[in-house]
Every structure is written in structure tokens, then in C-alpha cells.
């Protein structure tokens, strides 16, 4: 993974110094709250329901044990002993004091971490595939590209006061695990006919109030041209994006309003005028960054038959079925650690759990961890010979929930328990659903099923791309939940379809059960997943099941 050099270290330290000055200027009245707000947002600080929230950047979801331990320490010193891993591969702390932030940032800077541009109308954390560098279907590890974009976007003077927040994601594989089609700019690593590696670029995707699937800007852009294309897109967006209405300010709306053809024309026109200009990111710099991501030496791992381990432990086997993914090296596996214990708050980890994960990564897994946008942790490179030991340690730390991709592996925003924007709570719903299906012991039978919950229309829980999506709204002062079906955040991008009127909290679980029963009763066989089934039968059978009975039963 990328190692900070003096330039990077100096940059984050400067930023801490700058931030101390900004807080002082706010206190002195030199800055109004209105002026201070965009500045504190660019350091990841929100005012939330109970307190300030701080969002720490985990670039493309990658960190090492030293950094994970520091996140644990910060949870203990500055917060209430836990952190929340987010749907953009970051971590956030819910109970921060503004007066502590500068010191907290200094503590982060010591381990090459920061909170730069994790909120505000600027370019946010560049996200990527949590299996990057390990997946067997990869064309190229997407993280060096994400690092190049991180450097290009960090502190960019032209793009710090955009019409709205801007999100970029990179995938290195035709199987999109980074939801690139739902970002302002999505990059997919591809090979052209000459075997050269470059990028297919999608623009104007997004979730939120008006979900959109990204549209293809270009089928192939060579690596060396990437930053100039990115500059062109950003420049056009900054100049033309709407600033009169925050709900119409994103790139997706600009692409809608100009039309893709005109948007492309403007971007290309700008690109043509700058392509021969000041130096492109030189081949040397690109190589330097890419070299930082050379894979570890996998040859040290011994050949190991996991089946033998499974014979000794049924629970290990059970966990392995959902939480292990095959690795491109035959002697390794990818281990996913679920932060979705049924009944717990999705995506939360205690300081102690963070330390356990750090230790495991350092001792057994080449000192590398990932955060997935589905709010789980990944050890991307695990020698098969260490799997049992890792499982046992995870178990001791209450981190061995075996539900990756299953119905109780719910993605949920913090919702109205924490968020000022929320219209309903999402965490109690997640807990209720996860607990119910765990109790019924039907998870394995149900198979892969992604439930995603958002506590308001801003869709931070990514409900639009849930196989079952739940959107919490306010109906006459009472929390009310709408259901969408058939969303898909992969390369087969789909926005979920709304079933109809929403349900109050106490009726929602019945509706979810009814939906899943339709699937269980109607699927061809166990190999037909929920999503496959939905695509085959459509919305109607589900609507009938949840609304077909007399209204009083559900409302």
C-alpha cells in the first residue's frame, strides 16, 4: 500500500496547523459560522444531532495495523470507545468536540491519516474495490489509480467550492464491487485491443433524491491522459453545475440538462485545449505510485487444505462458507469480517475489536486491512494456513458473525438516531430485521440478499441499490418506511423499484417477511437468488403479497 513520503507528511501537518487557525478565527469572530462551515466541512466535521461528527478518510478503504490501532485510540480518547465504518469506506466518530479536533487531527497525522475533504462541496474520498489486489477477476489493481486521483484532488485550488459534493470510484475488474455506476465519475479499468490498460469512464451517476446510473463518457482513456480528462470534467462541472438549488446541483443533473452529447462535447472541447499544455503527470510519477502497490510476496505461504480444518470445526466451515472469497493466489483466501452481528448497530466496531483486527492483519495477513462500502472489514491476503487461527481470534472478539452477503448483512446509515438530515431511524430497523431472520435460522436458505436502509431521501444507506431497499420517511410525524426491490450496485446496475405506500415501523418487518416468503415459495431452486427471481417475476407478486391483504393488516 502507499507509503507517505515527506511531501505527504508535511501536507497533513500543514493542514492541522491551518485548521487550528480556522477554529481560532471562528472563535474570534473573523469568520462567521456561514464562512466557517465550508472550511470545517473540508476537514470532515459535521454538526449532527447530538454533537459534532468527524469523518476520517481511509483512502480507497486501505489501512495498516498501525493506523487501525490509532483509530482505536482515537475512539477511546476523543469519543465513546467505538467508531462507525461508512458506505464510502471511511470511519466516523459521533461524539467529537470541536475543541478536540485539532489535537485529534495531529494524532491522525502521526500515522499518515487525516480527515481532509471527507465532507463539503469538494472531491471526496476516492473509493474502490475492497478486494483490490486480491480478486482473481482483476485486470489491474485499481488502488494506484485511486491514489493518483487522491493526490490530484487533495487541496485542489480550483475544485474546493463546487456546486455540490463530488464522488469518484474506481474498479479494477469487470465485476464492479465499487458501485462505480453510481458515482459522479466512475472509472473501470479496461484493456483496449492493443492490450494497453486504460479506463472506461462513466459520469453523472448517483443516488440520493434522484438516482441515476452513470453514462459512458468514453470507452477508453489511456492512463497518461487520465488527469487531464478528470480536470476537464471537473472544470465544466464547476462552471456549469447549478448553484440555485441544492437538489439540482450535482453532475448528474447537469448531464440530464445538457444531454450527454453536449456534456461530452464541452468536456472534450476543454480537454482538447489543455491536452498539449503543461506537463501531464509524468510516466515517472505514475510508475512511482504504481510501484507502491506491488503485491506482497505470496510465495512464503505453504500449500494448505482448508477442508481438513473444516472437518475439525463445523462453525469454522459455516463461517468460511459466507466469509471467505477465493484469492488470485491458490494458497491464499480473502477474509471478510462482518460488522453486522444481528442486534448490533451495523458498521460499528469497538476500540477493542479494532485492535484485534489490527493484530490479526499484522501477524497473519501482510499488515493490510480494507473497509468495504458495505460497512465490513476485509483482510485481503490471508494464507490458508492461518485461517483457523484467525477465525478463533475473531470469535473471541465477537467478530465472527458468518453472514457476509446474507440477509442480516444489512447496510444502514446512522439515521435519525444521529443525523440532522434524517427523517426516520434506520438502526432499529436494521437490528429488528437481522435479529428476526437470525432467529428463524433461514438465512442460509434465503441465500445472497442485500438489504440496504436509508434514514432519509439522501440515500447514504444506498437503498436504491439494495436488492431490498428501505427508505425511512416522516409521515405526519410518524416514521414510515418505503420499500424498493431489485436494486443492483454492480456492473449490472439497476435502481430499485418502489413497491408502493410505506409501512410504519411495527408493520415493516411483516412486509419484509412477506417479500422473502414470495421468493422462497416461488424460486426455481436454491440456485436462483433473490435478485434473479425478482428479475424473472417482476414487482407484481411482491405487491400482491404485501398489499393484497385488507389494508388494516398493514396500515
Amino acid at each position: 500500500m502507499y507509503s507517505y513520503n515527506d511531501f505527504d507528511k508535511n501536507f497533513v501537518r500543514q493542514r492541522v496547523h491551518e485548521f487550528r487557525g480556522q477554529v481560532q478565527r471562528r472563535i474570534d469572530g473573523v469568520l462567521t459560522e456561514e464562512e466557517f462551515k465550508p472550511l470545517r466541512l473540508q476537514n470532515g466535521i459535521y454538526m449532527q444531532l447530538h454533537s459534532y461528527l468527524l469523518r476520517v478518510a481511509i483512502p480507497y478503504g486501505t489501512l495498516n495495523s498501525k493506523q487501525m490501532r490509532r483509530l482505536a485510540l482515537i475512539a477511546e480518547i476523543y469519543d465513546k470507545g467505538y467508531g462507525h465504518f461508512t458506505t464510502r469506506q471511511n470511519i466516523q466518530y459521533n461524539w467529537i468536540k470541536l475543541s478536540d479536533v485539532a489535537d485529534l487531527l495531529a494524532d491522525l497525522a502521526e500515522v499518515d491519516m487525516h480527515a481532509i475533504q471527507t465532507s463539503g462541496n469538494c472531491i471526496r474520498n476516492i473509493t474502490s474495490d475492497h478486494f483490490a489486489g486480491a480478486a482473481s477477476d482483476e485486470i489491474e489493481d485499481p488502488r494506484p489509480t485511486a491514489e493518483l486521483l487522491r493526490q490530484w484532488s487533495t487541496g485542489h485550488p480550483e475544485y474546493a467550492f463546487l456546486p455540490r459534493k463530488f464522488k469518484i470510484a474506481v474498479s479494477g475488474s469487470p465485476h464492479d464491487r465499487a458501485a462505480i455506476a453510481f458515482h459522479d465519475i466512475g472509472l473501470c479499468t479496461v484493456r483496449n485491443n492493443d492490450g494497453e490498460i486504460g479506463y472506461k469512464i462513466y459520469i453523472g451517476g448517483g443516488l440520493g433524491r434522484t438516482p441515476r446510473i452513470g453514462r459512458v463518457l468514453s470507452e477508453f482513456i489511456p492512463k497518461i491522459q487520465l488527469l487531464k480528462y478528470m480536470d476537464s470534467i471537473m472544470h465544466v462541472y464547476n462552471r456549469l453545475g447549478r448553484r440555485d438549488n441544492i437538489y439540482k446541483a450535482k453532475l448528474k443533473i447537469l448531464v440530464d440538462e445538457l444531454g450527454l452529447k453536449e456534456a461530452r462535447r464541452q468536456i472534450y472541447e476543454h480537454y482538447d485545449s489543455i491536452k498539449n499544455g503543461s506537463q501531464l503527470a509524468s510516466a515517472e510519477i505514475i510508475k512511482f505510485i504504481f510501484d507502491q502497490f506491488s503485491p506482497p510476496d505470496f510465495s512464503t505461504a505453504k500449500k494448505h487444505d482448508l477442508e481438513k480444518d473444516f472437518i475439525h470445526s463445523l462453525s469454522l466451515k459455516n463461517w468460511a462458507e459466507t466469509n471467505l472469497t477465493s484469492h488470485r493466489d491458490p494458497n491464499h483466501v480473502i477474509v471478510s469480517v462482518s460488522l453486522k452481528k444481528p442486534g448490533a448497530t451495523p458498521g460499528d466496531a469497538s476500540a477493542n475489536q479494532m485492535r484485534v483486527l489490527a493484530d490479526l492483519a499484522e501477524q497473519y495477513a501482510y499488515d493490510e486491512l480494507r473497509v468495504s462500502h458495505e460497512q465490513n472489514i476485509v483482510l485481503p491476503h490471508v494464507p490458508k494456513q492461518h485461517v483457523t487461527k484467525i477465525y478463533n481470534k475473531l470469535n473471541e472478539a465477537d467478530l465472527a458473525t458468518s453472514n457476509i452477503g446474507m440477509v442480516s448483512d444489512i447496510i444502514s446509515c446512522p439515521g435519525m438516531d444521529y443525523c440532522t438530515l434524517a427523517t426516520a431511524r434506520s438502526i432499529p430497523i436494521a437490528k429488528q430485521i437481522a435479529t428476526r431472520f437470525c432467529e428463524m435460522k433461514t438465512e442460509r436458505d434465503i441465500g445472497p440478499l442485500k438489504i440496504k436502509i436509508s434514514g432519509c431521501i439522501n440515500a447514504c444507506g444506498h437503498h436504491h441499490v439494495g436488492h431490498i431497499g428501505i427508505l425511512g420517511l416522516d409521515r405526519g410525524g410518524v416514521e414510515n418506511y418505503q420499500i424498493t426491490l431489485g436494486g443492483d450496485g454492480t456492473e449490472d446496475a439497476h435502481i430499485g423499484e418502489r413497491t408502493g405506500p410505506g409501512f410504519p415501523a411495527d408493520k415493516l418487518i411483516g412486509a419484509i417477511e412477506a417479500i422473502i416468503n414470495v421468493y422462497l415459495g416461488g424460486r426455481k431452486n436454491r440456485n436462483e437468488t433473490f435478485l434473479d427471481f425478482y428479475r424473472r417475476v417482476g414487482l407484481s407478486p411482491f405487491k400482491l403479497a404485501i398489499y393484497g391483504l385488507p389494508a388494516t393488516a398493514y396500515f
Partner: protein, 172 residues
Amino acid sequence: MSEWVIITNKGFGSDDWIGRSVIEPADVLSGKVGEEQLKKAQLKLGNDFQVETLKSFLPYLSAISIDFPSEKDGRGFSLARRLRQLGYLGVLRATGHVMIDQYRHATQSGFNQIAIPPKLAKRMPEPYWQQQIGSFASSYQEKLQPGSTTLYSLKNNILIEEAKKHSKFKPS
């Protein structure tokens, strides 16, 4: 503009554009303003102006100001950078609601000066600006692509020569 404060890398200063006649884009594009007049004028631009239309006049302009209506509106930074890319070598001024913390963005986008109204200057006195001016701001963008965000680059000189070839004015 006499009560407005002009900020440069030397700190607060007086307005060195007093005496320059104020012209608008329509004046320039109409071709009615001569070469000598353009040089002595100050061109005021709104932050939504299509600066590309000024390309052939840039070698003759020496003072352009771009409006900053609000601290959240960053269009001026894009326009400044674009003007530099198009070859403008004169003085660029960011005028309006520019915060101390945008000093870096302004200078790295190509502005030489910032002009703020008296009320803002009262609330943001000079010592605070001096802190910003004095602090060294390293730039990832310059590290990756040298010349892409500085005021002047070699490329600008080439553009100036090209623009003069297609100029509306006969060389004097």
C-alpha cells in the same frame, strides 16, 4: 473601489487600478475599444462569463477582475485558471466575498490580487491575512503536473504568440 482593500502577497494595499477605466466584455468583444485603451482599462467579469470568447484579446489586456458573489461559489477559480491556460499574462483580481482561507485557492488558481469590501476587511483584518500569505502551502497538483496551477507557465508564452498572430489589432 476606493474603500475596498486590495490584498496581494505583500498584504493590504491601496487600489493600484484607480484611474483605469472600467470596461465590460461587450465593450471588448465589439472591437470598438482600441489596443491602447484595452491596456489601460480594467475588465470586470461576472463569474459565469464565457472567458474563451476573450482569447484573441488577452495579449492586450492587463487588468481583469472576476466577481466572487459568495464564499461558497468557486467559479471564479475556474475562470482564473482558464484565463491563464488561454495565455493571459496580466493581473487577475478576485473581487468580492473572498475569505482569508481562500487566499491559497486564489493564488494557486492564478489570481495576483484579492479585493474585499470595507465591511469584510474590518472583520478580516490584515494580521490574519498575513498568516495565510506567510504560510507555505505545498501543492499536490504542482507536484503531479508542474505548471498546471501556477500563475505563469512556458505554455502561456506560446499561446500569447499565437494569439497575437490572429489578433484584431495591427502591431503598433
